[in-house]
Amino acid sequence: MNPDLIDHEFEKTSPYLVGREKVREFSRAVFASNPVHLSVEAARNAGYPDLVAPPTFAIVVQQLTLDQLFTVEDAGIELTHVVHGSQQFGYSRPIVAGDELTAQLRVTSIKTLGGNAMVTAETAVHDVDGEHVVTATSTLVVRGDA
């Protein structure tokens, strides 16, 4: 693993438009049954402008930034050797259909343990007004044994 990734400047992703049907599709996939995820009327009655995405939907936006990480030249990360160690989301507000979200990645730590490396990737997600929506943090274990 290349330790210089800590200093690597990752570009903001182009805006991701959260689609209403994508929210429904994701909600069904994670067994989210609260009506605010599925019914626009229920979401509006609860005070939201549109369908509310389930809490882990942010991974879809974060994934765009992890793809940037995996394609950095000389990153030293072989995708088939990557294991998801842990995941965290810190929310300012839920993601709602119609949001246009941009994400920016920062590698906050790289630790080497034996032949393996543990990289912490922190993705900050903002809306079109520049307001913080969620920060998604992944710890990835990159196996060096194969």
Binding site: V30, N34, P54, Q63, Q87
Partner: protein
């Protein structure tokens, strides 16, 4: 198995300088606030792959899973994380009350092509701050009695 419960915070039940302060929330540390069981099948994995865009073949192809030394086709860790918070969202009634959610992926969930896998979730209040109206809810997420997520914690604003 429940080592995460060792650092239980002190309970504040509205004990305050204000005389006659009402107890706003009826919760106590140790309360189980939600429970649910989710039967996963291979279809669930394909559905999550499509919804999330994670098409790693270890989540739907037995031959690929075997090739990389796995005990079988695995559920996406993010699928387990995604469903495990649903009982908490249902209890809260509003996803906006979830302030922070974290898990460690400690044990893979093997999904049998015929019998699938059954994930059970139990959500328990581990810390309570009555004044702030917030709590830390710990999730015990298990398959056949073995926990599959570690340090699965949700910080919430109490409903």
């Amino acid at each position: 198995m429940t080592a995460a419960h060792e650092d239980l915070g002190l309970t504040h039940i509205g004990a305050d300088a204000h005389a006659g302060l009402e107890i706003v929330h009826e919760y106590e540390v140790g309360d189980i606030v939600a429970e649910a069981t989710y039967p996963l099948t291979r279809e669930s994995l394909v559905r999550y792959a499509g919804a999330s865009g994670d098409f790693n073949a270890i989540h739907y192809r037995d031959d690929v899973a075997a090739e990389v030394g796995l005990p079988g086709v695995l559920a996406h860790g993010m699928l387990t994380m995604g469903l495990a918070i649903q009982p908490v969202v249902d209890w809260l009634g509003d996803p906006a009350l979830v302030a922070d959610y974290q898990v460690r992926f400690t044990r893979p969930v093997v999904v049998d092509p015929v019998t699938g896998a059954e994930i059970t979730v139990e959500a328990k209040i581990a810390q309570l701050d009555e004044e702030a109206g917030t709590a830390r809810v710990d999730l015990t997420v298990s398959v056949e009695g073995a926990t599959v997520l570690g340090k699965a914690q949700v910080r919430v604003t109490l409903p």
